[in-house]
């Protein structure tokens, strides 16, 4: 008997809990050369802003112990070209599409989401209120509960399908942010975005990123992400998409056990572009071995001392 991998978040059914994380899968075209995107529960697009953005000048990535730093700076084609050029191709793909939206002002978030409202293939919007790589204000939303609540509430007025609030780990109390997001009307929470970090070249004494600092991601941050998902799950009723350092089915299972209903794979795609396929196979074997009928049987089942 094949275990049931389907998960439902805010009324939307996903064929399985494995999604690709924003900024780690472009708009899907390249990954589609590696595996059929219908294998994915969902694809989350690179953050879309109102205007096209080049991002920061290179170098904008650096390798770190079991992780990486990036300060891409929200390079993207802008919402107009996204709708004109990227969505038509995405419409041909048999997977759910979550469009990640970033802005540097309340207006910008609302305007972009309004433009996506008519785009049926935007199954959900994920609000990136937590990107550490833009100075104009992106991260402020995610570190301030009132602003978190406000931006979500305003976006909900213009976008009727489910809204995912993507939380930053760079806060004293993530539960406070989760509750603010819930208060604002978020349907789902996703966490975590990257941790602020930096790296210095000891030969040149220069920072390794033109932005001087960047976002730390990859296996290194997995324990942090797990603790934060656990904290939010224990204190908030919204469904959670777990993100942070996921590379294997074992990682996915850890996130499900602490309360994530689905997960996103980010940095691991750079190392193994077909990681989602391997993860799905191994997750299925695990469920069979543990004689579990549904992947949802794992959610929140962690045993604490």
């Amino acid at each position: 008997m094949t275990p049931d991998l389907k998960v439902t978040l805010a009324g939307v059914e996903f064929s399985n809990p494995i999604m690709t994380a924003s900024g780690c899968c472009g708009y899907g075209e390249e990954l589609a050369d590696v595996f059929p995107l219908e294998k994915l529960g969902a694809l989350v697009t690179k953050s879309i802003t109102r205007e096209p953005r080049l991002g920061h000048p290179p170098p904008r990535t650096a390798e770190t112990p079991a992780g990486m730093l990036n300060a891409i700076g929200l390079a993207n084609v802008g919402v107009k070209r996204f709708l004109a050029e990227k969505i038509p191709w995405l419409e041909t793909q048999k997977t759910k599409i979550i469009v990640n939206v970033a802005g540097s002002s309340l207006d910008e978030y609302v305007e972009i989401c309004a433009m996506l409202a008519d785009c049926e293939r935007a199954d959900m919007i994920e609000l990136n209120i937590s990107c550490p790589n833009v100075s104009e204000g992106g991260i402020q939303f995610g570190t301030n509960p009132a602003m978190t609540e406000k931006v979500i509430a305003e976006v909900k007025k213009v976008f009727s399908r489910p809204l995912v609030a993507k939380l930053t780990p760079n806060v004293t109390d993530i539960v406070e942010m989760a509750k603010a997001a819930e208060q604002g009307g978020a349907d789902v929470l996703s966490l975590i975005n990257s941790m602020v970090g930096t790296s210095i070249d000891i030969e040149t004494w220069q920072t390794r990123l033109t932005n001087n600092k960047g976002g730390l991601t990859g296996p290194a941050i997995k324990p942090i992400a797990l603790a934060l998902v656990d904290a939010v799950h224990s204190n908030c009723r919204l469904p959670i998409i777990g993100i942070g350092g996921i590379a294997t089915a074992a990682d996915v299972i850890e996130f499900l056990l602490v309360g994530a209903s689905a997960v996103q794979v980010g940095t691991a795609l750079f190392v193994e572009p077909d990681a989602p396929v391997k993860i799905l196979n191994d997750l299925t074997s695990y469920l069979k071995r543990k004689q579990l009928a549904r992947v949802t049987d794992l959610v929140g089942q962690v045993r604490k001392y």
Binding site: E30, G55, E63, F270, V271
Partner: protein
Amino acid sequence: MKKLATTTVSVTARRDLRNDYYSLTFGPYPRVTKCRPGQFVHIRLPETDILFRRAMSIASVDTDRREIEIIFKVVGRGTTVLSRYRKGDQVDLLGPLGNTFSLPKKSERALLLGGGVGYPPLLYMATHMVRSGFDPKSIEFFYGGRSDRDILDRTRIKKLGVNFHPVTEDGSFGQKGLITHAVESFIQGQKKDRMRIFACGPEPMLKAVDDLGLREGINGELSLEAPMPCGIGVCLGCVVPLKQGGHARVCADGPVFAIGEVIL
């Protein structure tokens, strides 16, 4: 065959070259027929403390034996790990990746410029041209290095029948000086519109070649390097600024760019 895939292959041969250079041959590699000069493979270093794959230009292919070769110099942690692989060890390759050098017209004179660790893709280019019926004597193979110890595979290059121009900074082998100077004096008084440059090497060299090409009106292509987290175009980490504005991804839009195209 999927357009892009990771493939597990074995090391079928290993050569310890001079001055910390190594050659590794991998096979059987079913994707060998898809490989073209200028392309690279992205090599996983599993179970090490190194997260990212390392990009390595394809240095030669053997379609009969379904093997590909890479040549690299040990300069850091990634290449140190690579240099430990022995015959029989398994390796995971993502590729072939990137665009390719474009073949010149048969009437054109091809100037191949390999500087240091930039040599491997030009070896592939020269071999591919000769195999594709180009007159070896239409190929000027410039190979630059610090000194004698940096010029690899001399017999192999000569066997191709190309015009071989080794250049070393200290003059210990071949011409003395910088590879770009050697090329400059070579082209003096020659018809520039019938020449095409193909170059790979350290950034200052590529910049000089780019300047030279623009100044002298010689068309051609440069193969660039950049730190490459993904190698397939999804992370946007490897970009270079373009003269026309905007960024190009070295991994997916390159690594080969036309002279005059990118800001070096």
